[in-house]
């Protein structure tokens, strides 16, 4: 399984043709306490860069973009009742949605962990 990052601070774990998407630890630290998350419904078709989810903190509301194209398998049901998971475990239990990848070559344009760490260090 490999993990990729976008410049908009989403991460995606890829296992075969299935990806799990969330926002990075850096993103949650910038947003502050998350108070509401809206995840996409299963079956929704997304293109790379589409607004897939909404995350709201005490400071601001932000869109979460899909890092790849594909069909949503499921949104994380736990986030409805416990949006704080995004703060406590952003790159684990706080995942947003799972998606089937329709074009694995889209991953080539994303960053790996080392490249993302360097990207964040410059911000």
């Amino acid at each position: 399984m490999s993990r990729y990052f976008t410049e908009d601070h989403e991460w995606i774990d890829v296992d075969g043709d299935t990806g799990t998407v969330g926002i990075s630890d850096y993103a949650q630290s910038q947003l502050g306490d998350i108070v509401f998350v809206e995840v996409p419904d299963a079956g929704r078709s997304l293109s790379k860069g589409d607004e897939a989810a909404v995350v709201e903190s005490v400071k601001a509301a932000s869109d979460v973009y899909s890092p790849v194209s594909g069909n949503v398998l499921e949104g994380n049901p736990a986030l409805t009742d416990e949006p704080a998971l995004v703060n406590s475990d952003p790159e684990g239990e706080g995942w947003f949605f799972k998606i089937t990848l329709s074009d694995a070559s889209e991953l080539d344009a994303l960053m790996d962990e080392t490249a993302y760490a360097a990207f964040v260090a410059k911000l």
């Binding site: 502050g32 306490d33 108070v35 601001a60 949006p83």
Partner: protein, 524 residues
């Protein structure tokens, strides 16, 4: 100088040391107050109605069967309840209110006197127009001045507030496009430096919103905007002065490009107080702009009164404006142009937004403000708004990070970031400390293009003495934030309530009050 700007403190002993908690929870003049449902018995009433002798009810089975549980209070208990609550609040009549983008300036008492004249205050919107010629004359006169001050062609007076005015302007644009057979234009471009209501307005009216980036100096990226123009673009919504407190210098160039591409220019005029009497948006190619009477023209708002958002329109859009409006006839009589009286003269109007004519009380106040200031006074409003904001900016840029300070003078508001605060300290800590200093906090975390933004609009009505005291307080707060003073994390310490858990309030809001006994049962 009556205002203490020097940081002088009284040498009297610290109060409260060694004192026992009071029986009532009150602290002398700082009075605790429960919720009204907790003090009023549902068994009592403050009003003594005679039993009605009207026989029968036409409600049938819909008659209420059980008590609704409203608290019964006497007049005195009611007055005390709300007066006690009001003493825990902060208001423009108590002190400087630097909430960015909100223009919390002094509301002259002359306006209040005029608005309370019985000929304006005690009339009804359904009265025959012959009996309300004075009030209609106010609407008409104000309309004339708003058109003159903005260099536009017409004005829709009825929108009730800024965002309602935005909707009015966008609906005019939609109607104009459809009339031209250009209804397929579905994209509205909104720069990052625009107000947050702009994209919401466009989306609500059925358009697709696309962001245009800001440049590093906080203004719209003109090249990026021009590159995006095309046959699918309906309009551009641009805020000027923008929400970074900067004048959009390229607006004329942008308008020309938008018009050449077949679109319209909407300008968010919420910050018109910074340019009134100095710049006419009509000269910059604007097609529609709302004016917040409650900001620029000083009518009370933010809990003190309603908003009012008339929309000035260009020659291209004016025919599409909503009914009703007023017109002065050759004999001086003011006519109200409505559905019944418009005849065939206004076939392109998109319709009506409100039941009646708009916020009459705001119209009288705004006209009183315009006439009492005069042309020279309104020019000075803009000058003082800009001067005061720049005084704040230059007095604080050595202690706060000021991201656009190098871009030249600001307009009516100064913006700072939380860069340079000690680790773990953020804008919210500075804002809470400002409450302890006796000020309303600034606008926080907006605009989003600035990290931990602090948006400060001192307004044109503050004296230099008041500004100096405010600046002194902010310098002290900045130094504590940079030094990592732990007491800042738990501020405010002197407010009726200490730091509230805003996260818990947002995650688990309790929006309905239930009797304590029900709460106890639910907990079991």
């Amino acid at each position: 100088m009556s205002i203490n700007a020097s940081g002088w403190k009284p040498t009297a002993p610290v109060k409260g040391e060694g004192a026992a908690p009071t029986f009532t929870g009150n602290k002398a003049l700082m009075l605790e107050e429960p919720l009204i449902f907790e003090i009023g018995s549902t068994e009592t009433t403050g009003v003594d109605f005679a039993d009605g002798d009207v026989a029968g009810s036409r409600l049938g089975d819909l008659t209420r069967k059980s008590a609704i549980g409203l608290p019964g209070l006497s007049e005195q208990e009611t007055v005390r309840h709300y007066t006690r609550l009001s003493r825990q609040n902060y208001a423009i009549d108590l002190g400087l209110f630097p909430l960015g983008s909100c223009t919390m300036k002094h509301n002259p008492r002359l306006n209040e006197k005029v608005a309370r004249m019985p000929g304006f205050a005690d009339i009804h919107p359904l009265q025959p127009v012959d009996t309300v010629q004075g009030a209609l004359g106010v609407i008409n006169e104000l309309a004339v001045w708003l058109i003159k001050l903005t260099g536009m062609h017409g004005v829709a007076m009825s929108p009730k507030a800024g965002a309602h005015g935005e909707l009015c302007g966008i609906l005019c644009i939609k109607a104009a496009l459809e009339k031209r057979g250009q209804g397929h234009r579905k994209v509205v471009l909104v720069p990052e430096s625009a107000h947050g209501t702009n994209p919401a307005t466009a989306a609500f009216a059925g358009f697709t919103v696309e962001d245009i980036p800001a440049t590093a100096d906080g203004r719209v990226d003109t090249a990026a905007l021009k590159a995006r123009l095309g046959p699918d673009v309906a309009a551009v919504m641009i805020t000027n002065p923008n929400t970074c407190g900067l004048f959009e210098r390229d607006l004329k160039e942008i308008s020309d490009a938008v018009h050449a591409a077949g679109g319209y220019v909407y300008c968010d005029g919420a910050n018109f107080n910074a340019i009134v009497g100095r710049v006419r948006p009509g000269d910059l190619g604007v097609d529609a702009m709302h004016i917040n009477l409650h900001k620029t023209f000083s009518t009370p708002h933010g809990g003190g009164g309603p908003g009012s958002g008339p929309v000035v329109l260009s020659e291209a859009l004016a025919p599409f404006g909503p009914l009703p409006f007023t017109a002065r006839m050759a004999d001086g009589h003011i006519q109200l142009i409505e559905e019944e009286t418009a005849g065939d003269d206004h076939p392109d109007t998109f319709g009506r937004m409100v039941a009646f004519h708009g916020q009459m009380g705001m119209f009288t106040r705004a006209l009183a403000y315009i006439l009492s200031h005069g042309a020279d006074g309104l020019k000075q409003v803009a000058e003082d708004a800009v001067l005061n904001a720049n005084y704040v900016l230059r007095s604080l840029e050595d202690v706060f990070d000021a991201p656009f300070a190098g871009a030249g003078p600001c307009m009516h508001e100064a913006i700072f970031s939380d860069k340079g605060f000690a680790a773990g300290f953020s804008t919210i800590d500075a804002a809470k400390a400002l409450i302890d200093e006796g000020f309303h906090p600034m606008t926080m975390y907006f605009p989003l293009v600035v990290h931990g933004a602090m948006l400060i609009e001192p307004t044109e009505t503050e004296s230099r003495a008041a500004l100096d005291q405010f600046i002194g307080a902010l310098r002290s707060v900045a130094e504590r934030a940079k030094a990592g003073d732990p007491s800042l994390k738990t501020a405010p310490h002197f407010a009726p309530r200490a730091r509230l858990d805003e996260t818990l309030a947002a995650r688990k809001p309790v929006l309905t009050w239930k009797p304590l006994v029900v709460q106890a049962e639910a907990a079991e």
